[in-house]
Amino acid sequence: MIRKNLDLAIAGVIAALGCAAAAVHAPTAVTIILGVGLIAVPGYLWAEVLLTRRTPAFERVMIGTGLALMLPIFGGLVMYAAGIALYRTAWLGLLAGGTVVGIVVLAIVRRKSAPAEPGTSAKTKTKLPVRHALIYGAAAVFAVATIVIAVISSDNQSQPGYTQLWMAQVKNEAVASLGVNNQQGGTVVYRLQLLKKGRVSATWNLTLANGQTWQRDIPYTSKYALAANLYRLPNLADPYRTVGNNQ
């Protein structure tokens, strides 16, 4: 009896550990493993409830996976209809609840069902020859290496640099956000001039590291011309970027 229901105990432990790990913000590696288990376990349990022992293993895996994907959809909509906002606590409650109910239902189903005929649950053990295991291992290494190379290559893809300049009115108020963001790939020295009615009213000399942003709020109006010219030093002759209200 204990061996027959060992999977129920394991499912319960996985669900409990998964919820605990997510709740206490355990290290990512731990939460990933237990979290995947937390998602998968209800699918397994409900597949066990719905399918008989004669069902081929491949079918059980497919249906279990499908049910695991369905539970958050049905459960999420039910919780939303009940007025529960779908944040982490709600999801953990749903997955844990789905697991607990699944364990109870499956235990009842197994208790009611007739004992398995001898041999029906016998499993075939197929040994994988070492040579083939090594080849599969090499394939896995290739796959992992490919992903790693792809990520590194994508993260380090050279892109042309750019500098953002903006002057955007803040929500119908007499204030605008004036800002500069440097994405040139290195430190750049700028000069920013604010012009009112065509005359320089303020100047800022900015040295921005790559990725750095400078911004501040300035008085804004559409009654007279307001513009900002950004120069990239040493060129002070031609504005590098320009924004303004074009009055």
């Binding site: 990933i32 008989t52 994907l69 906002a85 999801w91 992903i147 993260d155 500098t163 953002q164 924004v243």
Partner: protein, 651 residues
């Protein structure tokens, strides 16, 4: 129990036995099979030899499955090397493109030949090969953009998921795809995984759609095998299904259809069980699974749920006339449930769906009228594919059509009383409607590509029957090796056709630097940073006039409302009062002018979203800079992209 393949039962056979059964199939043609046949690989039908047959069969094969797996992994590595070369600035070089196709060849050809071969292959090994093929192609899709979503539809779904994360409300508006939040299945599954594991949205999204895609292909194989009573024909049908243009790209992307397809597959499998199982208890269990699958499909994706409903209706009707009435009643009940679920969902949750599809349906009706009235299509063409790809596409269409006609004939001759195959045959006739859509309707290429996902399911089965019949035919019996080679080459050629004419298109087959009027290659750090800026400084939901390259970034990352059909805003050198009036009436609040549009023609054929004509001349710079005019604030400038505020911001 004989299959079109000549297999008896589902047990693995020796080569000699298979030859004998093939000869038998020759003389008996394709035998009819009873409705109550068991699913393959059930313990009842397995012999001890089958269960332990894997190792024995592997010894008979010149290409063990493990070696094929390694070759596929090397193929992924090789194609990824081409992607890396593209990112290093060699996206247009011949050798990089050759490396990509070499990688694809290493994946497709060995597995294709092995699955097509008549050498015995156990069901387990067949499943392993199908899983390897699916995972390998999915890994390639991941390697294309391994750091974030870049495809436009993925960005739109990303926005819906981000909204759910931020608000806890799955129905939060999404301006880029207004109908999307009404079908929140993908978002719900992704966010549940994120909150359970702590994974990022990108990682969780990749896992959800990867699992869903693999599940769909596996279920498809299982259904094909169940319907044809042959795991070999089922495997060949999956191979043929791999010729679907969007299968390895759009149907494995982070879009709601990917998940819905898996649910649709489960529903069809469960429906088959409901129709064929003898035990009432078993039927009830599978009926519950089918209903769950129907509901999940309806919640997740509109078109998939409609196709599922039509499929169930078709099978029920065919069962009524060719098979058992009891089976017809059961499938009919599922069809009614599906129809009611779709109707209720549209009526109470997603009434916007009708508005969403109205222009598409109107376009199809107009195209049909034009086709019937004048005998020729008025559909504009935006296809700019190279001649090689077009020839391959033409060859693929011709080969599929010939095989389909031959397969339908075979089905009609030998399977008249088998409801599911007859239903597949009737469903496969949608292929010709697909062809008509391709040539006759505006956006026909895209519509045909999208519908191919569904149309190819029955087409694959019927053409697999045709191919199997062909290699078993008297004419080629004495030329079996040559016949097998021709058949394998045909299938693999069709697969390459699907890749060449699917997604990504030839002009961004390899990732690389920015391209004007592209999709993935028009979404880079600069565009994403601009989009993020609009959200932080302008707020959400502003109506933008922009080009096709910046459209997805603005809608996805920027949470803005970029408009369709705005080409007129840009295609004039002066800012006339009439133009101002027109864009004000359309509600345009901001104009995003990307100066790079003046430097090159759009690789996709069009500069602006909603255009159905090919732009043949570069956009003059003055058309983009004309907004530097009195009274139009210039709020953002990054050198390439300039944003003008032409009306007040959204409240």
């Amino acid at each position: 129990m004989t299959s079109p393949d000549g297999e008896t039962d589902q047990t693995a056979e020796t080569a000699e036995a298979r030859e004998a059964s093939a000869r038998e199939a020759q003389t008996t043609e394709i035998a009819r099979v009873p409705e109550t046949a068991q699913t393959p690989e059930t313990p009842e039908t397995q012999t001890p030899e089958t269960r332990s047959g894997t190792t024995r069969e592997a010894k008979q094969s010149r290409l063990p499955v493990s070696v094929l797996t390694l070759l596929a992994a090397m193929g992924v590595f090789c194609a990824n090397a081409a992607f890396v070369a593209g990112r290093l600035g060699h996206a247009d070089s011949d050798w990089a493109n050759r490396a990509y196709w070499l990688g694809q060849a290493l994946i497709l050809i060995p597995i294709g030949i092995r699955l097509f071969s008549r050498r015995p292959l156990s069901k387990r090994d067949t499943i392993v090969l199908i899983v390897v093929l699916t995972v390998a192609e999915y890994l390639l899709k991941v390697c294309y953009s391994p750091s974030g979503f870049t495809f436009s539809d993925e960005l739109l779904q990303w926005r819906s998921t981000t909204n759910l994360l931020n608000t806890g409300d799955p129905f939060t508006a999404n301006f880029g795809i207004p109908v999307g939040p009404h079908y929140p299945g993908l978002q719900l599954a992704t966010v549940a995984l994120m909150d359970a594991t702590g994974l990022s949205l990108f990682s969780a999204g990749l896992i959800v759609v990867g699992v869903a895609h693999l599940l769909f292909i596996c279920v498809l194989y299982w259904v094909f095998t169940a319907v044809t009573r042959s795991h070999r024909v089922g495997a060949i049908a999956v191979l043929i299904y791999y010729t679907t243009p969007d299968l390895t790209s759009f149907n494995s992307m982070y879009v709601y259809e990917t998940l819905a397809l898996a649910f649709m597959g489960i529903t069809v499998l469960a429906a088959w069980k409901v129709a064929t199982l003898e035990s009432r208890g078993d039927r009830t269990r599978w009926f519950i699974i089918a209903v769950l699958g129907i509901l999940a499909t309806v919640i997740t994706h509109h078109v998939t749920s409609y196709v599922l409903t039509l499929t169930l209706m078709l099978v029920a009707v065919v069962c009524r006339f060719t098979g058992s009435r009891a089976a017809a009643r059961r499938i009919g009940a599922l069809a009614v449930i599906a129809l009611a679920a779709v109707a209720c969902w549209i009526a109470f949750v997603a009434p916007f769906t009708i508005t969403y599809f109205t222009p598409t349906v109107q376009g199809m009706v107009n195209g049909l009228n034009s086709l019937l009235g004048s005998g020729s299509s008025s559909a504009p063409s935006t296809s700019l594919s190279p001649l090689n790809d077009q020839l391959l596409e033409g060859l693929g269409i011709l080969a599929t059509t010939v095989l389909l006609v031959y397969g339908c004939w075979q089905v009609w001759r030998a399977y008249k009383s088998d409801s599911w195959i007859v239903a597949m045959m009737i469903g496969s006739l949608a292929w010709f409607a697909d062809l008509a859509i391709r040539v006759g309707f505006p956006d026909g290429q895209e519509l045909a590509g999208r519908s191919a996902t569904f149309v190819y399911i029955p087409v694959s089965v019927v053409t697999a029957v045709a191919l199997t019949k062909y290699v078993n035919s008297k004419i080629v019996r004495n030329w079996r090796a040559a016949a097998m080679t021709v058949g394998a080459i045909a299938v693999i050629t069709l697969q390459f056709d699907g890749l060449a004419n699917g997604w990504p298109p030839y002009w961004e087959r390899l990732p690389g630097p920015y391209q004007v009027g592209g999709v993935e290659r028009s979404t880079g750090p600069e565009e994403i940073a601009m989009a993020n800026w609009t959200l932080s400084k302008l707020g959400r939901g502003n109506k933008f006039a922009t080009d096709i390259g910046n459209y997805p970034s603005l809608a996805g990352y920027g949470y803005q409302n970029p408009l369709q059909n705005v080409a007129y805003v840009f295609q004039s050198p002066t800012l006339s009062p009439a133009l101002v009036l027109q864009y004000e009436q359309q509600g345009v609040q901001y104009v995003l002018a990307d100066n790079r549009l003046s430097q090159a023609l759009p690789v996709s054929g069009s500069y602006f979203p909603g255009e159905t004509t090919v732009d043949t001349q570069k956009l003059p710079l003055i058309d983009l800079t004309k907004f530097n005019a009195p009274g139009i604030p210039r709020v953002f400038d990054d050198g390439n992209i300039v944003i003008y505020q032409v009306q007040g911001p959204a409240s």
